[in-house]
């Protein structure tokens, strides 16, 4: 394995189906590692990984950290609250410091779109985008695709509905890029104020009718709705959002058929998704979390260019 090399993982836009498949296949192997009594391999021994989290995040940060430790990497963490960013350091100086410290891999979460690209242009380290503003969140989409593939076996021709605030969602964008590359049909559903005007140019369809979307799809990926959207005047209220776009058992029963239910978390139960859907049949939400660690191990492993086998 490890035939395909890539220098950075900045997004899924432009990534080939071969590379995505290789990452998913590696992730399957790491998933087996994770179920061992001692879920640790020496693949990244001697490799230093810096997790730079300029925006607060719990699950992505922990998932990356766990993946790094399971691979025996040396791990350092910078988080927004403790980092020099709060002391006015620019991202350029941060980049130069990383370079000076001779870090091998940088995992970056940042509130500003394009920040991982900014770093990648300026450091020798491999850069992994752990979410940049409303641009991309490639490892999340990879774990979503892995979860779908494990559930359905084949991705080609599958229909995925992405439900919610598309405009502000990096998860949506990365999913759209990755799913389209893998031959999946994508439709998005949400209020017109949270869907960018020219989104169809990405090669997807739009509906504002939840049940129409549900009727069409095999998989529904529910996105988190932020309370801020109400204050920004983009939706009248969370209550009205829930009324039109909250996923309930009733909706699923009315359209019938089995749907795979996904959510990148953290969930607003009772708003974008009801508890009996999140915890009910068809929900793969917790599997997504497990797959997240495996996918991140795969990305770290492939990006580090190490030749050791996983076994």
């Amino acid at each position: 394995m490890n035939k395909i090399r890539f220098n950075h993982l900045l997004g899924l836009e432009g990534l080939s189906s071969e590379v995505i498949t290789e990452i998913l296949d590696s992730a399957e192997a790491f998933l087996k590692v994770l179920s061992r009594p001692i879920p640790r391999v020496p693949s990244l021994r001697g490799v230093t990984v810096a997790n730079l989290f300029f925006e607060s995040s719990t699950r992505t940060r922990i998932s990356f950290e766990l993946a790094e430790k399971r691979l025996s990497a040396d791990v350092v963490n910078f988080t927004a609250s403790s980092s020099s960013m709060n002391k006015g350091e620019t991202i350029l100086d941060t980049a130069r410091n990383i370079e000076a410290m001779k870090v091998d891999v940088v995992v970056i979460r940042h509130f500003a779109q394009g920040s991982p690209h900014f770093l990648a242009d300026r450091v020798n380290a491999a850069v992994i985008n752990a979410g940049d503003g409303s641009h991309e969140h490639p490892t999340q989409a990879l774990l979503d695709i892995m979860t779908i593939r494990r559930k359905t076996g084949d991705l080609k021709g599958l229909k995925v509905l992405i439900l919610g605030d598309i405009a502000h969602s990096r998860v949506a964008r990365s999913n759209i890029y990755g799913l389209l590359t893998m031959g999946v049909n994508v439709k998005i559903c949400g209020p017109s104020t949270l869907i960018p005007r020219e989104i169809e140019s990405m090669g997807i369809e739009v509906t504002h009718d939840l049940e129409e979307g549900l009727d069409w799809c095999d998989v529904v990926n529910v996105l988190r709705i932020q309370l801020e959207r109400q204050n920004e005047g983009l939706i009248p209220s969370l209550r009205e959002y829930q009324r039109s776009f909250g996923l309930t058992r009733n909706h699923l029963e009315r359209v019938g058929g089995e749907k795979i239910i996904m959510h990148p978390g953290p969930m607003n139960r009772g708003v974008e998704i009801d508890s009996d859907v999140a915890d009910g049949p068809g929900s793969v939400i917790l599997s997504q979390v497990t797959h997240g660690v495996a996918v991140r191990m795969a990305v770290l492993y492939l990006i580090s260019g190490r030749e050791q086998s996983i076994e």
Partner: protein, 446 residues
């Protein structure tokens, strides 16, 4: 006696030389002055800063002779939209560095915008800026703020500013938000025959926007600055110009729909003029793909269709003026996260080369129209006297070599700043000399 090369005088840009204008001739130069339908090859003789004769140097003429056989001489280029950042932001640019940049770009006149700190809203400041340009072959004609401190509330003392010679007013950088204030500004300036130059933007539609809203912003997840945010503001301002009879100049238009509003307004006899930048004429929003903040400008780069429409609008005269919106920023200000970077790119030292290479040599624009849009058209909007290539007139000329191939190198700029996306681009056509105010600065032959 040549008084130019004294310690206190500004020196020409590196690689350029100062000549006396006491007795100077450009031999066999191609003279182009569209305003008087002049296009001919001749010897141009200057004495004491005045064009003495257009004809032939007689035997035994004892002045300095410069070979003009490869050169075009046209009226001095004028850029009516620059930011020279003084006072307040001298780390980005100063009158001094800005005048050097202007000269090396072939400009003999510039109009700095008043978004300085403090804002240019009084005659004292206007005069200080003008004085700082003394010794350059570049005139500085400040545009003064419409409102005191550019705060968008009370009108500046426009009457007194007009007496100082200011004929264009703008709160550039900030649009006039309140429609009634724009009405009053147009009414008041109209008393003096002065013009309002407006950065037309409805901020409620563009809040937080960092690039053109469309397919590319959707892909990149960047907040959009939609074309409608400009068009609604232009529409409002044009209607107010019609209502008041005031003179309105629309700064840096960027969309095809904006152009249509201006075409319609001109057809209806409304007192409106418009300008477009070299970057909106040649670059489109797909270039933001790599998150390079040098492409981040306000108004933003638009679609390919908009670019083509603007080129046509400039060619047919619907758009009057080419202006650079030269907006210097220090590297540490621009080299940050894309959404945090300030808007703007510099343009004085690339404008002529860009327009000549990308529009004239490709047949989209005649050389006469290019010269007109960079000379007489902006001077007219600015309320400045005409510049003509004619015996008896002051020599205010730009010399350029239309065949010189060169590569844009931001490290060789005279500007204090380097924020240009044109770095590394191969261009054909370059300014090689400026003559104005009795000063002659000419680039050395390679």
């Amino acid at each position: 006696m040549n008084k130019i090369n004294t310690q206190t005088q500004p020196q020409p840009p590196k690689g350029w030389r100062s000549y006396s204008s006491d007795k100077l001739a450009l031999r066999n130069v191609l003279l182009i002055d569209p305003a008087q339908n002049l296009k001919k090859r001749a010897d141009l003789i200057i004495e004491n800063g005045i064009i003495q004769q257009i004809g032939e140097i007689t035997d035994g003429w004892d002045g300095e002779i410069i070979d003009g056989s490869k050169l075009i001489a046209c009226p001095g280029l004028f850029d009516m939209h620059v930011h020279l950042r003084e006072p307040g932001y001298e780390h980005k640019e100063t009158i001094y560095s800005g005048c050097h940049a202007a000269a090396s770009g072939g400009f003999t006149g510039v109009a700095p915008m008043p978004n300085t700190d403090p804002a240019i809203d009084n005659p004292g400041l206007v005069n200080i800026l003008r004085e700082k340009a003394v010794g350059f072959p570049v005139e500085v004609h400040p545009i003064a703020a419409i409102t005191l401190g550019r705060k968008g509330k009370n009108l500046s003392e426009i009457g007194e500013l007009v007496d100082t010679g200011v004929m264009v007013f703008s709160d550039d950088g900030s649009p006039i938000v309140i429609a009634d204030l724009m009405r009053r500004a147009l009414e008041y300036t109209n008393m003096f025959g002065a013009t309002i130059s407006e950065h037309s933007e409805d901020a409620s539609l563009t809040m937080g926007g960092v690039m053109h809203e469309g397919a590319v912003s959707t892909r990149l997840g960047l907040p959009g600055w939609p074309g409608i945010g400009e068009e609604i503001a232009i529409d409002r301002n044009v209607r107010l110009a019609e209502f008041t009879g005031g003179k309105l100049h629309i700064a840096h238009i960027s969309t095809a729909a904006s152009l249509e509003i201006i075409r319609r307004a001109k057809k209806n006899g409304i007192n409106v003029t418009a300008e477009v930048t070299p970057h909106h004429l040649t670059l489109d929003c797909s270039l933001l793909d790599g998150f390079d903040s040098n492409y981040k400008v306000n108004p933003p780069l638009r679609t390919k269709e908009d670019v083509i429409a603007l080129q046509e609008g400039l060619a047919d005269g619907s758009i009057d003026v080419i202006a650079t919106d030269h907006a210097p920023h220090a590297p540490d200000e621009k080299e940050v996260e894309f959404i945090k970077a300030p808007f703007g790119m510099i343009g004085l030292e690339t404008a002529l080369g860009i327009i000549h290479s990308k529009l004239v040599l490709t047949g989209k624009l005649t050389i006469e129209r290019m010269i007109e849009a960079m000379t007489s058209a902006p001077r007219k909007v600015m309320g400045l006297s005409d510049v003509s290539i004619k015996a008896g007139e002051t020599a205010n000329l730009t010399l350029f070599n239309p065949d010189e191939k060169w590569r844009v190198d931001r490290d060789l700029f005279n500007s204090k700043s380097k924020n240009t996306p044109f770095h590394g681009m191969e261009l054909t056509g370059r300014a090689v000399g400026v003559i104005n105010r009795g000063l002659v600065w000419i680039k050395d032959e390679k």
